[in-house]
């Protein structure tokens, strides 16, 4: 019998979208000085969700000054236990309003509601709870008896996990005693603006958190502002390089979390069914818009056929469509520009001779969509094995021996994450020692926890976010 799941859409009515949003500066929503604005659209339907202010350099200047004043007068001198109270309060409000935030995240980003509901939002709240706990314990964090904050942090975040990246940036900065000016991505500014409302609701002192919306120019004005003590960026390696150049020679402390081309390595003794789940989760989670995505599958040649057959069968079960449907596994690509990039690289994969496969799946007519895709017969020389695609596209390569697996896995300018699938514990330890990646998952993938540090090797960036290590980037050590 064919069992068809009826549509099960999550209601949009929990979200109260305003037609337009200003900048959040010094505790208030304000209009930008030169009145510029842009539109944020729902990538699943191309419907305009809201008009959002575009911050110019004067606005950025205003925000940095507000942050400076708050740092000097209120937040910096405040005892850690009092900062903790605000962070705990924010964490609780996030939990209370999690449905609203999850729906808005899915509307603005295109990710399936089951992920924003079950992954993003619980992690966002967990990050605030975790760092709230550190605020009054900084002398015990291992950075000396009385570590001091840096001052004003300029934070620029990407569109793939809008609210989660905000939490990764804001929670440790505030816990350590810094104030922040944060710029969300131009395609996904809405949950950051709702977070600004939460800061108001939590009575967070004015100027501690400032949100300036805009595109690349706004970001550049922010990181290059002389009043900034710290720059934290998550995004592409290309932009990361430009930021590193602009920050070089200044007193600004910098952390970068950039691209990746992670190897997900499957050995012949792997638990096959769970490895296949891990491969699917590794590359199709969040439409593959994940910097640590397992975008290169390295499978031992002796089991390659079996693993690929299972993988294809599993991929045929993926449900692509309306992000607000609770049964959707893969939502919309975040923007037309990203879709164009995924298409370009996939076409290059075919042109260079790799074999392309997607399960039969019907894509909606409006919006930005890309079917889950795998390429087999890929070699290290293919562009799709080297460049970050940042989409639901998996390149499959094979290896013969553990040493060859290490060699291929490390043969990339990136080094953010890697996955190992084997039943042999000793091999996991042997391999993890040799993989040049900041995060190595064993028999799992894309697992995140606020207590665990996250960050890259090589061109995947530097500095760590999360855990005790995540405090370091926001302390004068």
């Amino acid at each position: 019998m064919n069992f068809e799941y009826a549509p099960a859409p999550e209601s949009r009515s929990v979200v109260d979208l305003k037609p337009s949003y200003g900048l959040f500066v010094d505790g208030k929503f304000v209009d930008p000085t030169d009145g510029g604005s842009f539109k944020s659209v729902n990538p699943a339907s191309e419907e305009v969700l809201a008009e959002v202010a575009e911050a110019g350099s004067q606005d950025v200047d205003r925000a940095v000054h507000a942050a400076r004043k708050a740092y000097e007068k209120v937040w910096g001198p405040m005892p850690g236990r009092d900062r903790a109270k605000y962070l705990f309060r924010i964490a609780r409000i996030i939990q209370e309003r999690s449905r609203e935030l999850a729906v808005l995240e899915s509307l603005d980003n295109g990710k399936p509601i089951k992920e924003s509901r079950d992954v993003d939002l619980p992690l966002v709240a967990a990050h605030f709870f975790y760092y709230a706990g550190w605020a009054d314990k900084l002398p015990h964090a291992g950075f000396g008896p009385d570590p001091q904050p840096l001052g004003v942090a300029a934070q620029v975040i990407p569109w793939n996990f809008p609210l989660l990246m905000l939490a990764w940036k804001i929670a440790p900065a505030l816990a350590a005693g810094n104030t922040v000016v944060l710029k969300p991505a131009e395609t996904t500014p809405l949950t950051a603006l709702l977070f600004a409302e939460i800061c108001q609701q939590a009575d967070l002192p004015a100027g501690v958190v400032n949100i300036v919306t805009g595109a690349g120019d706004t970001g550049r004005a922010l990181v290059e502002h002389p009043g900034v003590d710290k720059v934290a960026f998550t995004g592409s390696t290309e932009v990361g390089r430009a930021i590193a150049r602009s920050v070089a020679g200044t007193r600004k402390k910098l952390t970068l979390e950039l691209g990746g081309k992670a190897a997900n390595i499957v050995f012949d003794d792997a638990p096959v069914d769970q490895a296949v789940e891990g491969i699917v989760n590794g590359i199709f989670f969040n439409q593959g818009h994940v910097c640590c995505a397992g975008s290169r599958l390295l499978v031992q040649e002796s089991v390659a056929e079996q693993v690929l057959e299972s993988l294809k069968r599993r991929m045929a079960r993926l449900r692509v469509g309306d992000p607000l449907d609770k049964n959707t596994d893969i939502g919309a690509i975040n923007s037309a520009a990203q879709l164009a990039r995924i298409r370009e690289l996939s076409d290059a994969g075919s042109a260079e001779g790799a074999e392309r496969w997607s399960p039969p799946c019907e894509l909606p007519e409006r919006g930005f969509w890309f079917a889950p895709t795998i390429f087999t017969g890929v070699t290290q020389a293919h562009r799709i094995a080297r460049e970050e695609i940042f989409g639901p596209v998996l390149s499959v390569l094979t290896f013969r021996t553990p040493a060859e697996a290490v060699e291929k896995a490390n043969n990339t300018p990136y080094g953010l994450s890697a996955g190992i699938w084997t039943d042999k514990g000793s091999r996991i330890l042997w391999l993890a020692d040799r993989l040049r990646a900041g995060v190595v998952w064993a028999n799992t993938f894309n697992k995140f926890d606020p207590t665990s540090p996250f960050g890259g090797y090589k061109e995947s960036g530097y500095g760590r976010e999360g855990g005790r290590h995540g405090l370091e980037g926001y302390l004068n050590v």
Binding site: F3, E4, A6, A270, P271, D273, Q274, E277, K326
Partner: protein, 319 residues
């Protein structure tokens, strides 16, 4: 089927002849990662099945129920009443389908057979010294033959867990083969008692062992030990029947039993069947629920869907 699968088929039939071959094969099956299997089962449990899909699932689940009573206190009167309920689960609604089977002890089979005759509802009986299986083989086989002779067309046997856990796979295998032959035309469901096998690796091996020995169904539990059917155990068994069919061409059914009490639970299992083995198993011939109280919850939810209101438990028969 490809040439590989054909040659695999002939290889597998030889396995039971040698303890070494059987052990090598079972221990060569891919392992199960506990965390991953449990995570996958939990993810499938978050599917949202509403409106038409829910109605479809409820009717299917009712048709898949093996309505069960396995008590020392069972009497002819009790099992006749249960059989009557199996035929007409909801007397108020003739559109309600009948259940898949009635499942009773061998001594109760004749009483149930009278009621079910010609109805299309199967008559299952537990045999082989259920639930422990701790009896001499001859006794177990006699138990089986008696149940079949009295009218059971499905036999739910227990495997010899003691032998399995001691690594004497051939002994388990031979007992299943002997029981299958004692069944004659009756379908054989092999109860693995997964709660006593403890690990998912064991569940996968026992599943293959039962299938290799000729079982028509693999079933999780007797319902007589503390841990009965769970979603991850059923997931591992579904993967086993899927892989077994791919290797041999023979389809084997799956029956989770014990602890499935609500419509919500049942729907989670159906989602898991749908997304693990697909439409071929979404049929009472290939998937069953061993349950008793589940049926009334399914009926309550069914009535709620058709009438829009919940009726109290007093509107449903307690048999």
């Amino acid at each position: 089927m490809t040439a590989t699968a054909t040659s695999a088929r002939s290889d597998l039939s030889e396995l039971g002849r040698s303890e070494t071959a059987l052990r090598t094969f079972l221990h060569g099956l891919p392992g199960v990662d506990q965390v991953g299997a449990e995570q996958r089962a939990a993810q499938l449990g978050t599917r949202s099945i509403k409106t038409t899909a829910k109605a479809q699932a409820i009717d299917l689940a009712i048709r898949m129920v093996d309505l069960t009573t396995l008590e020392g206190a069972d009497t002819p009167g009790k099992v006749r009443a249960l059989a009557a309920k199996a035929l007409r689960p909801d007397p108020a609604d003739p559109s309600c389908p009948h259940v898949g089977a009635v499942c009773v002890y061998p001594a109760m089979v004749p009483h149930v057979a009278e009621v079910l005759a010609g109805s299309g509802v199967h008559l299952a009986s537990v045999a082989t010294a259920f639930p422990s299986g701790q009896a001499p083989l001859e006794v177990k086989l006699a138990d089986t033959r008696a149940a079949v002779a009295a009218g059971a067309d499905e036999i739910d046997m227990v495997i010899n867990r003691g032998a399995f856990l001691a690594g004497r796979y051939s002994e388990v295998y031979d007992e299943i083969v002997a029981t299958k032959s004692a069944c004659g035309d009756a379908h054989l469901k092999v109860i693995l008692e997964t709660g006593e096998l403890a690990t998912y690796d064991n569940v996968r091996r026992a599943s293959w062992l039962a299938m290799l020995a000729g079982g028509d169904f693999i079933k999780t539990s007797t319902g007589k030990v503390p841990v009965a059917a769970t979603l991850p155990v059923t997931l591992v068994m579904l993967e086993a029947v899927r892989d077994f069919r791919a290797a041999t061409g023979r389809q084997v059914g799956v029956k989770p039993a014990g602890g499935i009490k609500t419509t919500k639970d049942a729907i989670k299992y159906l989602v898991m069947v749908n997304e693990t083995v697909g439409a071929d198993w979404l049929d009472p011939d290939w998937f069953r629920f061993g349950a008793s109280s589940l049926l009334n919850d399914l009926l309550m939810q069914r009535t709620k869907l058709t009438t829009g209101v919940y009726s109290g438990p007093d509107y449903f028969t307690l048999d």
